[in-house]
């Protein structure tokens, strides 16, 4: 499902402008950030797009790292100056939710790429682990206590190994694709491309 056209120019939800806390910042340098915004609108949660360092203000108390191209996002994270405030947010143990490229940005190590971005998630992740677009697929599996969640993988990664700090929440065909670590949720799949809001609700409850 592609999101409504108003998301092309919408920078924040109506209730986010005056909010002093409780706003979800969505990294919006490249990728499917509007899909997360639409998801939060469905749940009535205030959100704000993070395009530049000054967008990260005191009202932000949780962060979403959306799908897209991790190489592109990684470069723009640094050139926009958004890397530092988001890294500080994660280091402070505040909630963060990474989907696909977001999981790659969170990982402490990639097994087929020398880059490390936030390095917060105690796991080794493989980029494009299922191959090119012909390897993209849909499946259904549990995310922890959330049963039968629809999983959409788009040139997705999977987790090669997990350290002591992270717990495995989702496995498909023997591959680890969903993790939690304190206030971090990381999925190799895209809940924002489905109609199922349960993982977003879990994230908003952190």
């Amino acid at each position: 499902m592609v999101v409504a056209v108003e998301y092309i120019s919408k920078e924040e939800s109506a209730d986010a402008e005056s909010a002093t806390h409780g706003v979800t910042g969505i990294l919006a340098v490249q990728g499917a950030f509007a899909e997360h915004a639409a998801m939060l609108d469905r749940l009535g949660a205030p959100w704000k797009l993070l395009r530049a360092a000054e967008d990260f203000d005191d009202s932000i108390d949780r962060v979403i790292l959306p799908g897209g191209e991790s190489t592109t996002q990684g470069k723009l994270l640094h050139s926009t100056g958004l890397f530092e405030p988001i890294a500080a947010h994660i280091a402070a143990g505040k909630p963060v939710f990474g989907t696909c490229a977001g999981m790659i940005l969170l990982a402490k190590k990639l097994d087929n790429d020398e880059h490390v971005y936030f390095g917060a998630l105690d796991a080794v992740v493989r980029r494009n682990a299922y191959g090119r677009q012909l390897g993209s697929f849909a499946a259904t599996a549990d995310f922890g206590d959330i049963k039968d969640f629809p999983l959409v993988f788009i040139r997705g990664p999977f987790v090669v190994s997990v350290g002591d700090k992270a717990t495995v929440e989702t496995e498909v065909d023997g591959r680890i694709v969903g993790l939690r670590q304190g206030n971090i949720i990381a999925t190799a799949f895209h809940p924002e491309l489905t109609d199922d809001t349960r993982i977003h609700e879990l994230f908003l409850g952190l």
Binding site: V2, Q30, A52, T72, R132, I154
Partner: protein, 291 residues
């Protein structure tokens, strides 16, 4: 093609949003593009400006050359086939391409029929000058749309015209009464269901990028302002004086297209832009290929 596959293919285009897809002709150029932050590359033997200069029939690129680019970068790799060339498309699918561009930049193989893209597992992007063309391509199975622009000219006027035309026609369709959509579908020469989708949702059912003549950060920002969800840059980068710097600047401009202070900085000292040809100076109107 399974419904599931069609949806997954539209989803990949969603992941490319807000990004820049760059034409590259060598693995070295592909790496420059990736390092600059391109969200995908388009592998082709000659960039549109050179295709235009060389004249003659232009065809799908050598698969060995495309594979070289696939091996060089980790981002998605797209490649072009001639309009209606089913066999070229099968070849690209066989080498595991991420997206096929059924493109007017190459010489059309068929002057009546486009490829039935629903018969393929890999996704297609197609060009469109207006809403009718976009919806006909989507009916045939295109998972992504781009404006046609006038490739290889460095002149953005046609991309602007196509984007404005398409979005104006979408707004007009949204404004109709429900019982007027049947006639609108007939006028647009598109299936009713797709006209109804646009009427109800105010947008195409797939992601829509700008393409053709984008040569500067300001051009990219202009296309985003006009409603593009991302930008293709063809000749504009590797026909310019400093490709790496220009590529990075266009990536940043596409991400932060509303920030004029940033655009001003990005536009400084980029070296020479591609020379370009004005719309009224060109001999071959590529955008007219395929309706």
């Amino acid at each position: 093609m399974a419904q599931n596959r069609a949806e997954l293919n539209r989803n990949l285009a969603q992941m490319l949003k807000g990004g820049v897809i760059m034409d590259v002709t060598t693995p070295e150029q592909a790496r420059i593009a990736e390092d600059a932050g391109a969200c995908a590359v388009m592998a082709l033997e000659r960039i549109p400006a050179d295709i235009r200069a060389a004249g003659g029939v232009s065809r799908m690129s050598d698969p060995a050359m495309i594979k070289g680019i696939q091996a060089a970068v980790s981002i998605p790799v797209m490649a072009k086939v001639r309009i209606g060339h089913i066999a070229e498309a099968r070849i690209l699918q066989a080498i595991d391409i991420d997206y096929i561009d059924e493109s007017e930049v190459l010489s059309p193989a068929d002057d009546v029929y486009h490829i039935d893209k629903r018969q393929f597992d890999v996704p297609f992007v197609c060009g469109a000058k207006n809403l009718g063309e976009a919806l006909r391509r989507i009916a045939e199975g295109a998972a992504m749309i781009r404006t046609k622009g006038e490739p290889g000219t460095g002149d953005v006027i046609q991309a602007v015209r196509h984007m404005r035309t398409m979005n104006k026609q979408i707004r007009e369709l949204v404004g109709l009464r429900d019982d007027e959509v049947y006639e609108a579908a007939k006028q647009l020469a598109v299936p009713y269901d797709l006209a109804k989708y646009v009427h109800d949702n105010g947008r195409l059912p797939v992601v829509n990028f700008a393409a053709g003549g984008v040569a500067t950060p300001a051009d990219a920002a202009l296309m985003m302002e006009l409603g593009a969800e991302g930008v293709f840059v063809g000749s504009g980068i590797f026909k310019s004086g400093d490709p790496a710097k220009r590529a990075a600047a266009i990536v940043k401009a596409t991400a932060n297209w509303q920030d004029a202070d940033l655009l001003a900085k990005l536009s400084e000292n980029l070296g020479e832009a591609m020379v370009g040809i004005n719309e009224d100076e060109i001999q071959t109107i590529m955008a007219a290929r395929g309706e």
